[in-house]
């Protein structure tokens, strides 16, 4: 059995090594695949704060992923058409600056998570799952009917957005940006899990009655976790849109929400690097199986079913054993 901590470090190092190798071997497509895996891992890492620590089975995280994507799309669209973005009394200039776009993506998706969370957390269990799924679908239909930004066809951006001091058009540099953000978020998750907030949230998942009897409000703890979670997934959405220079309503689709949960489960619930393992395996399956057959989702379904029925700890659990210790 390998210690989970060593596994995590090895995993992240391996991911970086693959990208660097691809750069030296002049394989830009492999770098793009690695970047895709990193961004999906980031989106799932966001969900993992709500799902893994807080036990909130959100089937609507595509809402935040898509919002992040559309924040990037809309801001960049106004920048490239030199038109201001009219928001009622305010008028904002578009931007092609990644840090500004990220900030906006985090704020918008965090705010959406606050509203959705306030409504959804009035209930729990299976209601929560159905409500988050429904709100995700609401954004999907809204994006389709929002003809000003492409409606069903989505919105293309001509040039990838910029980051001060870097050339984001070079694949490895954009990979580097995403990779560093992923590592920062994983570090944040690790700190969070051990912090006073993490202790209380973890208890709110397992024994909400206990949390109440020590004078804390489990719903508020979960709401804060949900907002943090949505904001991070929103940031991932902005990066994802930047990777393909394209946003469309499919970022809001319920399949996207389902896949984010699948990533976490493939790796292992509540594991720090569960989303990373899940995303890497997912992108590999998508690429390898997808090359062999058009119907690779059937095999994904079979694998998923086997994991749920027979291997609850996910892939990390198979390698490193049960211990999901929080200390």
């Amino acid at each position: 059995m390998i210690r989970e901590r060593h596994l995590n470090i090895g995993l992240l190092a391996g991911l970086l090594a693959v990208a660097l190798w691809a750069m030296l071997a002049d394989q830009p497509f492999t770098i793009t695949l690695a970047t895709r895996a990193v961004i999906l891992a980031l989106a799932a890492a966001g969900l993992n704060i709500a799902l893994g620590i807080g036990g909130l089975v959100s089937l609507g995280h595509a809402a935040f992923f898509g919002l992040g994507g559309y924040v990037m799309g809309v801001l960049a669209y106004h920048a490239q058409t030199y038109t201001p973005l009219e928001l009622g009394p305010f008028s904002i200039a578009g931007t092609k600056s990644m840090p500004l776009i990220w900030l906006a993506a985090i704020c918008v998706s965090g705010l959406a998570a606050l509203v959705i969370g306030l409504l959804s957390l009035r209930t729990s269990g299976v209601y929560f799952i159905m409500i988050t799924l429904a709100f995700g679908q609401m954004f999907y239909y809204f994006a389709i009917s929002w003809s000003a930004y492409g409606g069903e066809d989505g919105l293309s951006i001509y040039v990838r957005n910029g980051f001060p001091g870097l050339n984001t058009l070079v694949p490895i540099q954009f990979f580097g940006i995403c990779y560093v953000i992923l590592c920062l978020v994983l570090y944040l998750h690790a700190r969070l899990a051990r912090s006073p907030f993490g202790l209380a949230l973890n208890a709110a998942r397992q024994a909400p009655v206990r949390v109440l009897t020590v004078g804390l409000d489990p719903t508020r703890l979960k709401l804060v976790a949900f907002v943090l979670s949505g904001a991070i997934t929103g940031l991932a959405g902005a990066l994802f849109a930047d990777l393909y220079r394209f946003v469309s309503p499919t970022m809001f689709s319920w399949q996207m929400s389902g896949e984010l949960i699948v990533l976490i489960i493939l790796g292992g619930v509540a594991r720090l690097c569960g989303p990373v393992v899940g995303a890497v395996v997912f992108v590999m399956l998508e690429h390898l199986l997808g090359g062999l057959t058009d119907f690779w989702h059937v095999w994904l379904g079979v694998i998923l079913l086997l994991i749920v029925l027979f291997a609850r700890g996910g892939l990390i659990g198979m390698v490193s054993g049960r211990a999901v210790a929080h200390d």
Partner: protein, 249 residues
């Protein structure tokens, strides 16, 4: 006369046609242990749930130190100094003993909104948690997962978490349940010394413990308090002997 620490006034709660609490008025005064006894189904759990805020009464009121808390939720009552232990342990099973005690300390401090520093590195919280564990004799097990504890140790941890709250009053739901003679005796000794710190409303089936500990006893039958008073009065009360102890003599 000083204000009771905890008081219920005419609590009534119906489930359909059944009256689970029928005009229950009780109080708990500083320095005492007030035991509530009654046969199974007498409405003891319903009463506790109303006192602690899990259940709203149909009518009547609950007061903590004179303040009406009937409309407050469980968390708010805990913050006002009500510490409850559960009949069936409600602990965070995947966490360690220390983490469970830290949660109590965290709640008592009311500051869970800290996201960065490890909670176990907080010296104040840790001191508070470890002191409570030490008092119930669980300090050596602080690193053990709750799921690996014995039944008796879980009962001790329930009490320890309540201690970390440094409450105004304890509400204990059958703390002796399933403890065995040795454990009951030890816990009885411990609770005996605790009443000076904060009074205890004790729901308990173990009559030896009740008679050894209680300053006052109230007897609940079919949701009604049929007798209430000092231990000796209750012991000799013919109604109680008839209704509860089941002995006609």
């Amino acid at each position: 006369m000083t204000e009771p620490v905890l008081q219920t006034i005419g609590l009534t709660r119906r489930f359909g046609a059944m009256v689970a609490s029928d005009d229950v008025s009780l109080d708990l005064r500083a320095g005492e242990i007030h035991a509530i006894i009654g046969p199974n189904g007498a409405g003891k759990s319903t009463l506790i749930n109303q006192i602690c805020g899990e259940l709203r009464p149909d009518s009547g009121a609950v007061r903590i130190a004179g303040q009406d808390v009937t409309r407050l939720d469980t968390a708010a009552r805990a913050r006002l100094g009500l510490a409850r232990t559960f009949q069936i342990s409600a602990l965070v099973m995947e966490d360690t003993v220390l983490q469970n005690a830290m949660l109590g300390a965290l709640g008592a401090g009311g500051r869970p909104w800290r996201f960065w520093r490890p909670v176990l590195a907080d010296p104040d919280l840790r001191a508070r948690a470890e002191a409570a564990l030490d008092r119930v004799g669980l300090l050596p097990q602080r690193g053990t997962r709750v799921s690996d504890l014995s039944h008796g140790q879980r009962r001790q941890l329930e009490v320890a978490v309540a201690l970390t709250l440094e409450p105004r009053a304890f509400v204990m739901d059958e703390p002796m349940a399933g403890l065995g003679a040795e454990g009951s005796k030890a816990l009885t000794g411990f609770l005996d010394g605790l009443r000076e710190e904060a009074p205890i409303l004790l729901v308990e089936h173990d009559m030896d413990a009740v008679f050894a500990l209680a300053d006052r006893i109230s007897v609940l039958v079919y949701g009604r308090v049929i007798a209430s008073g000092p231990v000796e009065d209750i012991r000799s009360n013919p109604d109680v002997r008839h209704a509860y102890l089941g002995t006609g003599s």
